[in-house]
Structure formats: C-alpha cells, structure tokens
C-alpha cells in the first residue's frame, strides 16, 4: 500500500506529541478506540479564556494512518474556536492525507477524538455540550 507524502511526513515527524494536564479545567481530553481493535487515540485540547484552542496534544497507539490522522487533527485544532473545531469532518482528513478506503476508520477515530475532547472540556466547565460523536 503506497501512502501519500503528507501522511508519511505526519507519521515520521508527528506534530504535537505529548500530554497536557488533564486535571486542569482548561484542558479537555478525548480517549477513543480500544487496544483490541488496534487503535487508541488520546487527543487533548487546552482552551484559552476567549474560547480559542491554544494548544493541542496527542498520543496514538495504532497504524501509520491513525498516527498521521491524529497528528493532523492537532495541527488543525490550534487557533480554532470550539465551533470551528466541531466542524472538522473525518472526510477532510481523508482528503488531506489521501487515506486509502481501508484506512477511513482512522479518520473517523480522529474526528471522534476531537469531539470527545471538546465534550470533556464543555462538561468540565459547565457549558452546554454541543459536541456529538458520530454513530458507528
């Protein structure tokens, strides 16, 4: 299976790898997937007082496409408002990384991770939860 240069770049030089302090109120954490399925993504966002996402970090257990999808997601999240972040669709990731059909689930997982991190942030801060995970 030949991967796109963009995917390989994100895989080899993943952006924003790391861990934010999940006990902080400004941090939202999403943990999706399962070890038995071969994919686990943890994506975290740090939200500034004005509501923009000022930092995003990830760690992923998974194949190259899963790692690249989550790396790309963190890159896209930075500087976005919550509403803008919620509009990221998995097909945007598929397109950007030219994911092959058997790897589309990796992009779905990345979208879930984003929404799950936002939901955690909203719940923590007593905000209305606008993040809705896709049914799959």
């Amino acid at each position: 299976m030949a991967y796109s240069d963009k995917l390989l770049d994100h895989f080899k030089n993943p952006r924003n790898v790391g861990t934010l302090n999940k006990s902080e109120k400004s941090v939202g954490t999403g943990l999706v997937g399962a070890p038995e399925c071969g994919d686990v993504m943890r994506l975290q966002i740090q939200v500034a007082e004005d509501g923009t996402i000022q930092d995003a970090k990830f760690k992923t257990f998974g194949c190259g496409s899963a790692i690249a999808s989550s790396s790309l997601a963190t890159e896209w999240l930075k500087g976005k408002s919550i509403d803008e972040a919620l509009s990221i669709d998995n097909m945007d990731i598929v397109e950007e990384l030219a994911l092959p059909p058997v790897k589309i689930h990796c992009s779905v997982l990345a979208e879930d991770a984003i929404k799950s991190a936002i939901k955690d942030y909203q719940e923590k801060n007593g905000l209305e939860v606008t993040a809705q995970l896709k049914e799959h």
């Binding site: 790898v17 997937g33 992923t60 257990f61 190259g64």
Partner: protein
C-alpha cells in the same frame, strides 16, 4: 544505509538461489519441449529433466520419485490432497480433522468440503501452538478418514509432534496428511518415517521458483489414491492434469538438491542469526513476548509481540529498509488480527503487536545487526507516541478502562 533493503520475510517467499536460476534457464528457449511429447527429442529432453527433478525432490524427503505429483504450488497440493481424499474415500467416511492454526489453503479447502457434505473438526491448539494428542484422539470417530496437520506453522514456526500424530493415525487406520510447506528443505522431513501419507510443499519457500509445488502421495502400505481435481490430459498418473511446468520443475529439483546438501549449514546459519536477533530484543526492549513454542520451532523464525505498539505502525518506521510481516489486522483488508496468534490464546492487543521475522540462506549478520537497531528504535518511537504505553508506565490498569470499541 538509507538505500539498504533487508529481506527478513523468507516465510512469505525466498529469493531464488542463482544456482537454481542457472539450472532453469536452458528450459525456456534451448530446450522448450513438452514433457508429454513422447515422439521427438524436444519432448524426451523435457521428460528426462522432469524425471531427474522428481528424483532430486524425492531424495530430499526420502520417498519414491513416483510418489511426487507436481502441482502449481502448495495451495493446489493442499486442495488436491484434501478434496481428493474426501472424494476417493467417501465410502469409508466423511470426517476430517485439522487444526485452527492451519494455513488458509487447508482451512478454506475444508470449508468447501463441509459444503459438499463433509464433516470437519478444527482442533484448538495449546498455548505453545502445538496440537494436543489427547484432543486429537478424542476427535476421531468411525467416520474419520483423514487427519491434516501442518508440519511447521508459517506465522510462528511452531513444529507439530508429527511422529506422535503419525503413530496415532496408524493406530486408528486413518490417513495422515501434512502441509509441510514451511518445513521441507529447511529441517529434515521424512514422511514415511513419520507416518505421513500425503504431504504438500512448494519450491518458492526453499529458494526455488514460484508457481510449482507438489503433493507426495504414498504408494505402498497403504496405497493412497486421490481423485483428480483438475481434468484434462491425465498427466501425473491421472491425479493432476496439465502440461508440466518444465523450467519450474527443474528449478524445484535443483532447489531440493541444494537444500539437502546444505541443510546443516543453512540451519546453523539461520539459527545463530535468529537467536542473536531474538536475544537482542528480549535483552534490550521492555515487554517483549515470543509467540509459540520456543523448543519446537523452525530455526529461521521468530514471532515477537512488542506490547503496546501496533504492528503495522511499527513496520512503517523501518519498512523502507526492512521487510517483515505483522499479525496486525492493519496489514490486511480484514480487521481481524492473526487467527493463528488468537488460537494460541493471545489477546487481540498482543496479536496486533506482533512481528514475524523469517530469516533465510542469504541473510547476513550485518543485516541482522541493522534490523536490531532499526526495530529497537522503531519500538521506542512508537511507545513514545503510544497513550497506552504511557498509562502502562504510570501503573494504570488497562483492563479497568472502558474502551469504546469501534
């Protein structure tokens, strides 16, 4: 080293030994005959070459050359053996016993046989990958006509207790077949001394060409017959029609001759390198698990799980330079991880984390050293990225987390 290409996937296929290529070349142009052309020198030369190859192959496994039926490969030989026995011995019974860790060529042929009215028992294996003789004997019924157990497993290299199974089959008067694709040419394989009546193997796992294999069919005590699955000119004693692949068969023969002459040397070579590779990971990398029996195992294979690292992702860190295989689902179109490793009782997570290294005659020490370094770096890189490795290091019980299966 960035342009270096290291092949550690010899269980998938082996490179063709240049001496085999040399033996084959004349049979493409200078000697183009059809081995079935009995009336001119072109045909005679081809027939003579095929006969010689048959002797070379028979010599490797200590059988009569007339007991070798050429096919297009081991998959066809497995199909011919299983379906051919099922049809030929229909009057005696319809029950076949095999194991869950068999190659798909055997499992899928058995599935077909079930559709045709056969009954098949798929034995569980023990944690070391070996068949339990007690479970095997318990599965035998008065309708059992065949037991089919592979000699050595393609994913783990685990070698089955062949002689004991052979004795058990003899005691019950049941035919014993083996897919010996991964064993022949690499370790001593003697079907007659083992009690094996039918045996499938192929050239391209022993430094011969792809597209040619054979089925050994015992001729005496007992005389075994299989119903042809390919109809046509009645080649190969009526058991497999089709013009013989003369250059392929010549190469198969040469590969068998070389394997026999060099087996001791080849075995010592791959064993030393395999042990070095394996020891390096066990000694220097945390949470490494070797899958399958260590004692009863092919000398050229190691199947290792690097916990909390996903196999395909790991392979991507070094696959520009090193070719290996993974039991991870992500290497295939299906989403299930290796059924062989699952049958050994591995959790899905460890099965997803497995890498198979299979060495060969042409593997060098320098290549193994390079692989040790690259794979170790890859594992460390992937663990730096892995949230479950981080949780494991923090002492989080991963079993206690409610994962969102997808």
């Amino acid at each position: 080293m960035s342009n270096k290409l290291i092949y550690l996937d010899n269980n998938a296929t082996t490179p063709v030994d240049p001496r085999v290529v040399d033996a084959m070349l004349p049979f493409f142009y200078q000697k183009p005959g059809n081995a079935a052309s009995r009336n001119h020198p072109f045909g005679w030369a081809a027939e003579e070459a095929v006969d010689y190859a048959r002797e070379q192959i028979a010599g490797l496994i200590n059988v009569d050359p007339r007991e070798i039926i050429f096919t297009s490969g081991a998959t066809e030989a497995d199909n011919l053996g299983l379906k051919g026995v099922f049809e030929m011995y229909a009057r005696k019974g319809n029950h076949i016993i095999t194991a869950k860790t068999e190659h798909k060529a055997v499992l899928d042929a058995c599935k077909k046989i079930e559709k045709l009215g056969g009954q098949v028992t798929y034995l569980d294996v023990e944690a070391d990958g070996r068949v339990s003789l007690e479970k095997l004997e318990a599965a035998i019924t008065d309708k059992t006509i065949l037991v089919s157990i592979m000699w050595a497993n393609n994913e783990t290299g685990v070698i089955q207790p062949m002689k004991e199974i052979g004795d058990l089959c003899a005691k019950h008067g049941i035919l014993f077949m083996s897919d010996a694709t991964q064993a022949v040419g690499k370790i001593p394989v003697d079907p007659k001394a083992t009690g094996v009546h039918l045996m499938a193997f192929t050239a391209h796992k022993m430094y011969g060409p792809k597209g040619v294999g054979c089925l050994f069919v015992n001729r005496k005590n007992p005389r075994v017959k299989v119903t042809a699955q390919m109809d046509g000119g009645g080649h190969e004693r009526g058991m497999r029609s089709g013009t013989l692949n003369v250059p392929g068969i010549v190469g198969f023969g040469k590969a068998a001759e070389l394997a026999k002459a060099e087996m001791e040397k080849d075995t010592a070579h791959v064993r030393q390198l395999r042990d070095k590779l394996e020891k390096a990971f066990v000694d220097n990398v945390e949470e490494v698990y070797i899958n399958g029996s260590i004692e009863h195992r092919m000398p050229n294979v190691t199947n290792i799980s690097f916990k909390h690292v996903e196999g395909e992702g790991l392979m991507m860190t070094f696959n520009q330079n090193i070719a290996v295989s993974s039991g991870s689902a992500c290497t295939s179109a299906s989403l299930e991880p290796s059924y062989v490793l699952i049958a050994l009782g591995l959790g899905d997570d460890l099965a997803h984390s497995s890498i198979r290294f299979s060495l060969g005659r042409f593997t060098t020490e320098e290549e193994v050293d390079f692989a040790i370094d690259a794979v170790t770096k890859g594992v460390n890189h992937m663990r730096d990225l892995s949230p479950i490795w981080e949780m494991y290091k923090e002492g989080v019980d991963l079993e206690s987390i409610e994962w969102s299966a997808h």
